[in-house]
Symmetry: C2
Subunit: 339 residues, 2 copies
């Protein structure tokens, strides 16, 4: 059973994120979080013959690793919630094939992991599932050629550009289990402040993150100081600055509590990723490899808001003169189950 | 609160499909269900300058018409669940922009409407939403050029091909309201029997429909005779035959109870649509214009299973030699709320 405070969904028996796993590419393995990934593939093809199959394989590996940690087989999972950036979400669809598990396909662009976690919590808290697996992925090579330019072209990247993460994260959410727990979720509304530069996704997504965060505080009566960490998905450097500016207008200042998965994944100076990381795999990978295990071990933040953002345009919609709509989904992760 | 019987999710207080509306194109308006649509646009562009914007506009109109019938404004809706076939689901993303309503983007290809209805029922039954709007759309012109060939090419269509419906359906699901009620849902597993012909989607999707239907009967202990209507999404002529053949192997015979939205939308002989209709808008439009209103009026079926099917490939995955995975999601619609 869950109940609402405004648009926030409060879970009566906060479900557990029982276990999580993340798989990443070589570049991500060389970044500051490299040692925390469950697996790093030196082979960007993950043993497959196309980038899209590689991404699907990476997603499957993350799912299997998460299940393995929890001692479950795929057949014991009640529900698989997954999404990615590829046209028709093929990384997820093919990864789910033949698994024999109910599949709910999502499209939330880079917000997918938080969307999947929120839905998984709803399924488990309501009794519709004993456990549910939330998965999201992105691959630099499959995303770049789909959204921007063929890799071989070697196009220059402006300083506002973000680097699509090659990573997949998977989290097993269950009715039973230890911390962290999902105490609440808020699914965001679609915002569009008129950005049309596909090399400046952070700016396009920041208003959605600010809107979701402000609304959550307003609906629940919470203050930024009630949380140890306020973690946005993949705003990067430009989007993070804009997020904080927008909050300031609402009289909110998360201060040092705010961090962004897009700023944690790479060493921006050393790894030449311009404004930081992006992609479904960014927040999925950073949460699954870094924050969720840290909270499980009782280290680091006790109360964490994950606010993953997604840009909902397509290359075609931009060619047709549209601006970039964005959405941000929030989940409240807590080391405590009390209400 | 909901509970599980196997993989079927049973809703303790079955949510109401309070109202629904469907908008269609000219060809659909000339079909057997033409008079039942809430609006038929003679203009395939729906007043917009691209096919994609036309689809988004059509989806918005369906949503607004459904809300208008229920006397609600968009601001009073707790949740919008929507999806479509376009890359990055832009018809839905842009239709949701600026609405100020929490948005859950879905990718289930042509199964999207049943997926959205099942999730809307979970949100409302669990208390996470008072009401939720489930929406799906497809447009012949935006789909054909994305999936197959430019319209101007005038490619020949084999007899197994299906005609992507230009239609959008929207249903408002609420905790309170009259019949029909959503008594149960089952989210399907991804099946792939090795079909790789994108002009034979019915055959690719039939195994998923048969699997979901069989599993639902097995999990709930129901028999085909417990339902007045067993309605598949868009299997068309070829897929429907295969669906019935596959069920026969399981000892199941829905007989005349089975019908398919893809066979209802057009007059196949007169309208030259080969094996029938397909697209997210097919089951969304036929359910929203035909079955849901009929059940609301107390006419027609009292117990109906909607089993919408989706093919999860992309043009790229087929070019890369992949076969077509498919999924089928089921909702049980009933004129009675009793358990």
């Amino acid at each position: 059973m869950s109940y609402r405070k405004g648009r926030a969904i409060i879970f009566s028996s906060p479900p557990s994120v029982r276990d999580s796993a993340a798989v990443a590419g070589k570049k991500e393995g060389e970044g500051p979080l490299g040692a925390e990934f469950d697996a790093v593939s030196e082979d960007p093809h993950f043993g497959k013959d196309t980038w899209e199959k590689a991404e699907s394989e990476m997603q499957s590996r993350a799912a299997e690793l998460a299940l393995g940690k929890a001692g479950l087989s795929m057949a014991e999972v009640d529900l698989l919630l997954a999404g990615d950036l590829l046209n028709q979400c093929i990384a997820s669809g093919y990864a789910a094939r033949g698994r024999g598990v109910p599949f709910v396909g999502l499209y939330g662009a880079c917000s997918t992991f938080a969307q999947a976690l929120g839905l998984a919590a709803l399924f488990t808290d309501s009794g519709a599932a004993e456990n549910a697996l939330a998965v999201a992925s992105s691959h630099f090579c499959s995303a770049e050629r789909q959204y921007r330019l063929p890799l071989e072209y070697g196009g220059q990247r402006p300083p506002t550009a973000q680097w699509t993460a090659t990573a997949a994260g998977a989290a097993l959410v269950g009715r039973e289990g230890g911390p962290p727990y999902i105490r609440a979720a808020l699914f965001g509304a679609v915002q569009d402040l008129g950005i049309n530069d596909q090399n400046n996704m952070g700016a396009a997504m920041a208003p959605a993150a600010a809107d979701t965060f402000s609304r959550f505080l307003q609906d629940t009566g919470a203050a930024p100081a009630d949380f140890d960490a306020i973690v946005t998905g993949d705003l990067g450097l430009v989007g993070s600055r804009l997020f904080l500016e927008l909050l300031k207008k609402d009289g909110l200042d998360p201060g040092a509590r705010h961090t962004d998965c897009g700023l944690l994944l790479y060493d921006r100076e050393r790894q030449q990723v311009e404004a930081g990381a992006s992609g479904c795999g960014c927040s999925a990978g950073v949460a699954s490899a870094h924050f969720l295990p840290m909270m499980r071990r009782g280290e680091g933040p006790k109360e964490l808001l994950l606010i993953a953002t997604g840009a909902l345009m397509s290359p075609l919609s931009l060619q047709q003169g549209e601006t970039i709509p964005a959405v941000a989904h929030l989940v409240w992760l807590s080391c405590s189950r009390r209400q």
